[in-house]
């Protein structure tokens, strides 16, 4: 009998747990450790954040699903990994602290034969003074709760606009090293949509504040598209959308501080600026879960498993090299820890070997470098890949086939959709293949021009609506869930 522990129940962890349970007999244990009681379809938080959807429609409790599927669920937060076990037991172990209200604060040590680290990001609001809704002065849409707060604040601003007073709304990235520019891009156009729907758009100044060097970068160094016989760029495509919707932009910015009603930022040329606002939704940078690792004797070995960012090192090439020297094959494909082959890290939890978007520094030494996105589709695929490898090793032995899924051979779709009606919404939809450019395979742009597209229209909006219902159905493990691709 084998015990597989999955840390985290987001897209990557939940997908891994469901596939492990589907493929492994009931004589094996699948255990999920998650500090949250609920699952959240995070892409739809954007709609919650403008009041178009209630938080209840994007979250659901995990316990009934895990109970039905025979997955052991611990509502707890992992704090330490002991990959060599301890004096009592040589099996790997994870130390957890319960967040379950009935056991709050209680500590336990869970043994494992295989570990999947899918802890996702720690929302690092502390990296920027005054950032975030908890003690800070800006809003967030990273959780359903944050999004609900943002929607209430936006509704207040719309009321002020209705009274005839001008307002400035700022949406974007709260630090120079943020990722998920696509989410901020989607939110800013949802805000624009709501302001238009309320009939107050002409009184509002909407500003997109970003760490991207140019619009359309999205943390993936931009994209090339073929449209109507021309090769164009995501830069031009995105700029066109900003012009059409009259959304202003501030580029290459590192937010230094958020004060009540004022955001202070430095730009890549080293100049510092202040922008007063009436509403600001600024995403935080991400860190790893900051797990501590110990060897069997109890000595700390965190650096053997984790990068300084708190993300777990896997089968990537972490050798220091310049941005122009990296290659697609530097990216991981098995997500296995090089130190412990029974430990995997998937989704945001794995340490990327380098930025996809070119990192830049201001003359003051401030790093303005969008971090690589690894959410959504890629997260699910990684979770499934690690699960299938573990299943093979448990059922066929340690030399069994290792499944692979590199982000340099994986596509992703990003749909920025505004409105929730079937006829009134609109969307900017992008697909890219692969996520990590492979210049050897696709000379020039690094991506397949057939599979990398940008499109604006209702079709993308329908796609986003379909994905909302489809992925929640899949996450609830309803009949046939396994046939819905990650």
């Amino acid at each position: 009998m084998a015990r597989v522990v999955v840390l985290g129940a987001g897209v990557a962890g939940h997908t891994a747990a469901l596939h492990l349970r589907r493929k492994l007999g009931r004589d094996h244990d699948v255990i999920v450790v998650s500090p949250n009681a609920n699952w959240n379809w995070i892409p739809s938080n954007i709609w919650v954040g403008v009041g178009r959807m209630s938080a209840e429609r994007v979250v659901f409790p995990l316990a009934p699903i895990y109970g039905r599927k025979g997955i052991e669920h611990h509502q707890a937060k992992a704090i330490a990994v002991r990959p060599e076990g301890d004096a009592e037991d040589p099996r790997g172990a994870v130390d957890v602290v319960y967040t379950d209200p009935t056991r709050a604060g209680e500590e336990a040590r869970l043994r494992y034969d295989y570990l999947v680290n899918a802890t996702g990001p720690r929302l690092n609001f502390g990296a920027t003074e005054g950032l975030g809704p908890d003690g800070g002065h800006s809003w967030s849409v990273c959780t359903a709760g944050h999004a609900t707060q943002a929607a209430a604040a936006l509704a207040e601003v719309i009321e002020v606009l209705r009274s005839g007073r001008r307002q400035t709304l700022v949406v974007g990235m709260g630090h120079g090293t943020c990722t998920c520019e696509g989410a901020a891009f989607e939110y800013v156009f949802n805000v624009d949509h709501e302001l238009r729907a309320a009939g107050v758009r002409e009184l509002a100044e909407v500003v997109y504040l970003t760490n991207e060097f140019e619009l359309g970068d999205f943390g993936v160094d931009g994209m090339s598209f073929e449209q109507q016989g021309f090769r164009t760029s995501s830069k031009l495509w995105t700029e066109s959308l900003f012009r059409e919707r009259n959304v202003r932009a501030i580029l290459g910015a590192h937010v230094e501080k958020v004060e009540p009603g004022v955001v202070h930022y430095e730009q890549l040329d080293g100049t510092r600026h202040a922008l007063p606002f009436d509403f600001a939704m600024l995403l935080p940078p991400f860190r790893g879960a900051d797990l501590v690792a110990y060897d069997r004797a109890g000595a700390e070995v965190t650096a053997a498993l984790f990068a300084p960012s708190g993300f777990m090192k896997v089968d990537a090439n972490y050798a220091p090299k310049g941005y122009d020297d990296w290659a697609a094959e530097d990216w991981p494909s098995t997500y296995e820890s090089p130190a412990y082959p029974n430990v995997f890290a998937v989704g945001i939890a794995f340490a990327p070997p380098h930025q996809i978007s070119r990192p830049r520094k201001s003359p003051n030494g401030t790093v303005v470098a969008p971090s690589p996105p690894r959410t959504g589709m890629p997260s699910g695929v990684m979770g499934k890949t690690a699960a299938l490898t573990i299943v093979e090793r448990i059922t066929k032995g340690p030399q069994a086939h290792t499944h692979t899924a590199s982000m340099a051979n994986m596509g992703a779709a990003c749909v920025a959709s505004a409105g929730t009606g079937l006829r009134t919404g609109s969307a900017a939809a992008m697909t890219m293949f692969p996520v990590v450019p492979d210049y050897a395979r696709y000379p020039g742009s690094g991506r397949s021009l057939k599979d990398t597209i940008g499109e604006i229209g209702l079709a993308g909006h329908w796609l986003k609506l379909m994905l909302h219902y489809l992925f929640i159905y899949k996450a609830k493990a309803r009949p046939g869930w396994q046939f819905i691709p990650e």
């Binding site: 580029l251 600026h273 922008l275 606002f277 499944h403 697909t431 209702l458 079709a459």
Partner: protein, 59 residues
């Protein structure tokens, strides 16, 4: 409430110059983006592209 901090518009004006040079969609394009028949076709195509990507990325 707007803070008394003075506005510093230089970065916005710099970006306005770049964005202002981008092409604007024509009325015909805007209509096509809302046309149910055209968009139904695009929806099928988008789904086909995504499925192709999914299949290419799985091993």
């Amino acid at each position: 409430m707007t803070s008394p901090t003075p506005r510093d518009d230089a970065p916005l004006i710099a970006a306005d110059r770049v964005v202002g040079a981008a092409p604007l969609p024509t009325e015909k394009t805007l209509k096509a983006r809302r046309n149910l028949v055209i968009q139904a076709g695009r929806f099928v195509l988008l789904n086909a592209r995504i499925m192709k990507m999914v299949l290419k990325g799985h091993h």
